[in-house]
Subunit: 139 residues, 2 copies
């Protein structure tokens, strides 16, 4: 069973003061700064309906990650036993897709300002989705 | 500003009784059945640590979606005004990545049974992540 390769074209890029992946917080709620999502002009129409205050999920391509890693110490803490990468949020994984839940602060054309994003400057953006109400509360 | 193309290799496939995308629920909590995530043998180790009862996020590639759609009527309801696809969970979007939050029911080697998955049979799986506690409650 082997599936064909999928081709993804980035739809934008993260513009952030975070430049060093090693120094970036592991998660957005661990002190990450606000950042800009700068979309390609070609997808401007797809942003229609996004508003300040919205909770969104940003999907990124963690282009500095290692794709051949299957096991890691959670949060890089060697005192914790290794786990499979699918049981962790390690950026190192076969398809290093970042999943960032953030709130929109403001919008200026193709530039969307979001709060507490842990992705570093230059990270490609591959999708943007609204958070569903069923994903907000406990279920 | 144009980013290089990204290549993603599926890590598995959805095995489900759902076969017709038009008949499938829009979201998992709208009556979707349990389904199997069948992973490639090469990534078995990456599943270590996933347990029955875990809340996980499955990322899929919605291979039947249209990638040139930028605006849609939300939920296909033509009485609702069109919105940009990034403000909706429409499968039609430049990079049709499906985001499914589900609970693990059981695990058997590379086969992981999950509850309420709206993806149709044969949908490629591209990543699997645990839900973070910060994503469970309100914030």
């Amino acid at each position: 069973m082997s599936e064909p390769t999928i081709e993804i074209n980035p739809i934008g890029v993260v513009e952030s003061e975070l430049r060093d992946p090693a120094a970036a917080p592991n998660q957005g709620d661990e002190g990450a700064p606000s950042a800009w999502l700068v979309f390609e002009a070609a997808v401007l129409e797809a942003l229609d309906g996004i508003r300040a205050g919205d909770e969104v999920v940003v999907l990124t391509w963690l282009d500095r990650a290692s794709r051949d890693v299957l096991r890691v110490h959670p949060r890089g803490d060697r005192s914790r036993p290794e786990q499979g990468v699918f049981a962790t949020r390690s950026p190192d994984r076969p398809n290093p897709i970042g999943l960032h839940r953030v709130q929109v602060e403001s919008i200026d054309g193709v530039r969307v300002r979001v709060r507490s994003l842990e992705a570093v400057d230059g990270t490609p953006i591959i999708d943007l989705k609204p958070v569903l109400s069923s994903e907000v509360g406990e279920r």
